[in-house]
Amino acid sequence: MSPLTTPSRREALRLLGAGITLAAGGCSKPVETIVPYVHSPEQLLPGVPVRYATAVSLSGWARGVHAIAVDGRPIKIEGNPLHPGSLGATDVFAEAAILDLYDPDRSRTVTERVNGIASWEMFERALSGPLATVQAARGRGLHLVTGRVTSPTLARQIDVLLRALPEATWQGHEPADDVNAERGAELAFGRRLRALPRLDRAETILCVGADPLGPGPDQIRFSNALISRRRDTARFGRLYVAEAALTLTGVKADARRAVHPLDQPAVLTVVANTLGAGLPVPELPEAARLFAQAAADDLKREEGRALVLAGPTLAPECHALAHWINARLRAPVDFIEPPDGIEGRKPATLSDLASALDRGAVTCLAILGCNPVATAPADLDLAKRIGRARFSLHAGLHGNETAGATHWHLPLTHELESWSDLRATDGTVSLVQPLLRPLYDGRSLHQILPLFSGRAATAGYALVRETWRERGGGDFEGWWRRCLHDGVIDGTAAPTLDPGEPRLIALPETRRGAGLTVELRPDPCLWDGRFANNAWLQECPKPISKQVWGNALALSRADAGRRGLEAGDVVRASAGGRAIEVPIVIESGVAEGVGMLTLGYGRERAGAIGNGIGANAYGLASAASPWLVTGVDLAKSDRTETILRTQNYVEIEGETRKLCRQIDLAALASAEPKGIGADQPSLLDPWKGDKDGHAWAMVIDTDACIGCNACVVACQSENNVPVVGPEEIARGRMMHWLRIDIYDEGGPEAPRAGFQPVPCMHCEHAPCEPVCPVAASVHDGEGLNLQVYNRCVGTRFCEANCPYKVRRFNFFGYADGQPYANLGAESVKAQRNPNVTVRARGVMEKCTYCIQRIATERQAAERDGRAMGPVTTACQSACPTRAIQFGDLAKPGNAITELRKDPRHYALMEELNTRPRTTYLANLRSPNPDLKEEHA
């Protein structure tokens, strides 16, 4: 048979079919090919997911993860239960790391600023000249700039280098640092210490500007500890928060006051004085003073189980005072040696670098893995100053702003492509192992550093093993394999120390000048800006404002009104000669005279996704005060911008309050569990189908939900949920299968908000099903509300009739051909989960309860002839506080059945008789009776 026969026959059929059924396009099947291996990898089953333990970093700190790979390509990140920074859960950044790996904007080759594409050999040749100069001068003129170093191997390598070249300088630059806390500990105890507050043991907690539940390397650890403790209502405790603008901790607070950042030290003073400090009391607004006093009294009462946390914007003296208070309260705080950095070496600051550059004393500047041009405070003006170095290079994942300022740019490998080791905040070391060979011609920092000693690049694998050779002992290979398997190296956690008695430090005078005070915060989605080119994170709604694809200066309603500003007005914010243009957004719970802006936006060379999105808050920051900008002047421009938000209505009142049930702890005893609605009389018989032994259900504890979005991004990653881009968001379209609603029954001045993750409810009487004309939306015997994509014709009646509005429609081909979906590149397709259909244009989709996971487990059980084991949905496994529980109602004794009997249990809109399978537990609060008037 001639090889042409098949295609031509198909073609003929297609044409014929077109004429007959008008269904031309979709009917032809192109000839597919199958490409087997040449050599089959051992123990690899085709299409079956495999887990590898590794770690991904945030600001240098490790979060241990399991990377799931199918057929050799990593597709999903999940938490590593053995790792103290993960506890089996993830955060948005860890989840999104997988998309960073496949980011087509990653730099692929070595580049030289003038001549463009170059090679590693060319770079090594170019480096040899300046290197010889600095070597001759014992390193003088060599400046290494790194982010936070927690990798023992990297620390060892830098140490070796600095030993060889003692005059060389090592600068550290971590944009989202905690330098005030570090200095505060030094002030209090006279030495460098890292405090590890034990939120699992502290019950009465006062956060002054601190956001332990907010995004950051410790988010999972802190929120897990706090929420686990609160599950025991006897140890529910009380969380006080005094902060400038609403944070995740503020949302979960039992008592919260919006306090100007410059007033926050006074709150600490009130507490300290209650404990006998006898400090002069600065002025404090009456409401804040009452609040501080109530908290102080409560803290004092709960001595031994009380804790005070100071925020990153507060001066080191305030942190020192907090240490003093905690010591008085016998607060549960562990102290350890700071696990980061290099023993015996203190990194110089960027200001030092700036002055060295000004002096012309920099011969060779190596900026390794960080992006100071974009993330250094504006007054350092590094972009211009770097030009004064004789030879400069930048190593990074992207050819970013810093790469644009240096002579050379070296591509780094992603953490999922390289060998390394990283420490968690408690010192625990994880091994970082590659899941695939580097996609591009990149090298890891470990491979690059030897070049400065004039040595050839060494494999990262060997370098990391060398670091641990001694520790491994006799059976090094066995030890190594065990560490790789577990993802953590046992016994590497830093031992706790007795810090001694803290000194009582007087607080410096704070004077409030004229103008607005702007508090800068790391962005909950982009962090310090390093994730700006990650479309998942750009489209991840900020937990509280629900803003996507941009940032905005948050003001209180009163402040905005006083200044004649409305949401969306673009203002020119200026302070000390620095100025940025930024749109205004009005938010609840912002203190008077305060603006809040997140970092990480306004990137110029982030990549196709991140360029030019939002306003660059670093442009307002100064090296002296990177977190707080005082005396900011706002000048209204004639421009307005649409603030892109995925939730426009937050306030609930009257009857709508039942959407988000909130109970005071005192009322819990008399609370009754609410069911999912009773069957109404009907002319027709109810469905009596085959039940088949499973009844999947989900219960979401809204009290445990801290709104962190880890589940949202996990769902996106697991289920191939596409990104739609800002233009589509502006049209009111979005794709997230799981959204986290925030509802506020308090008000703009005293928010009393709760988070509510909303996936598909999988209603037993699903309103979406009877309206579908083609049975694309149907139920199965396990109680799943199915969406059969290939049957869907796209009437959208199901979403119109869904009271929960959880269905998502592909108005365009979001999964393919969209600029924000695949960035026009093949590489992003490699991230797709092969067990989940990639949806086409014109079909409806929605949460499936991770049906692919259920099916995988069911099929494995069928194959092995055993009962089905537990199934974990992606959102459930991501959740740091275990707020999402999934299980089988038909299985006796399943935890899910018990949760449905909890007094806090309720179903969304149970009055509609949809009988949802996804139900909720009410939010709990324990307000201080003395402060009752705040929720009047």
Partner: protein, 219 residues
């Protein structure tokens, strides 16, 4: 007035009217017939391959077990296509110089995989799992036909959704003893109806309603 039409025009008009009525019915019927015909399903259409691998020779002649090459058929959704090294495990000794096998040797030498053309093309959006079917006692030949007689591989079933459902709605006739799953010559015994039903019960095969639910194959 004069006659406008010839007498024969009456017949023409009647035929035209009748056709207007009949056309939609005929068109649907024709489309359906075509769609389920091998012309559209590619049933029994032999697919050209880069190497003319003969199942007749290897299975029928040499009696090699299916699992020798399709290694993951009992473990995973995908039965597996053998890597080049599997071919070469024999062909490094047998037929070492056969020109027919040149692409195979070249593949191994260059480390470049062979590219086979897919024979069994399931409809899009179907997640078929070989392991479960094998575990439940559905034999290879039930779907793949008498592979041991095929010089070149061809699908022996239409692989349409309706065809899948035929069995999912009534699995008993296709269930075999476990040891006969890989037996290409298995014939159902006379009392297959009874035996099949017993297998279905013993192996906890779901009810026809459950097996024909969308989520069994689609997600």
């Amino acid at each position: 007035m004069v006659q406008i039409f010839h007498p024969g025009a009456d017949t023409v008009a009647r035929v035209v009217l009748a056709s207007i009525g009949a056309a939609p019915v005929l068109a649907v019927g024709l489309a359906y017939t075509l769609w389920r015909s091998p012309y559209a399903t590619a049933q029994d259409v032999t697919v050209e391959q880069p190497v003319p691998f003969s199942h007749e020779h290897h299975v029928g002649g040499l009696g090699i077990d299916c699992r020798y090459c399709h290694t993951s058929v009992e473990k995973a959704a995908f039965a597996g296509i053998p890597p080049t090294e599997t071919c070469m495990s024999c062909h490094s000794q047998e037929w070492t110089n056969a020109p027919m096998l040149a692409p195979v040797r070249q593949s191994l030498a260059e480390g470049r995989p062979l590219t086979w053309n897919r024979v069994h093309n399931l409809p899009a959006y179907v997640y078929f799992n070989h392991a479960v079917h094998v575990a439940k006692g559905v034999g290879c030949s039930t779907c793949h036909g008498p592979v041991q007689t095929m010089k070149l591989m061809r699908p022996s079933a239409p692989l349409t959704m309706g065809w899948c459902l035929d069995c999912h709605r009534d699995p008993a006739p296709s269930l075999r003893p476990h040891d006969a799953v890989f037996d290409m010559t298995w014939k159902p015994p006379a009392d297959q109806a009874v035996i099949g039903a017993r297998f279905a019960e013993k192996r906890h095969i779901k009810s026809p309603e459950r097996l024909s639910e969308c989520s069994i194959c689609h997600r």
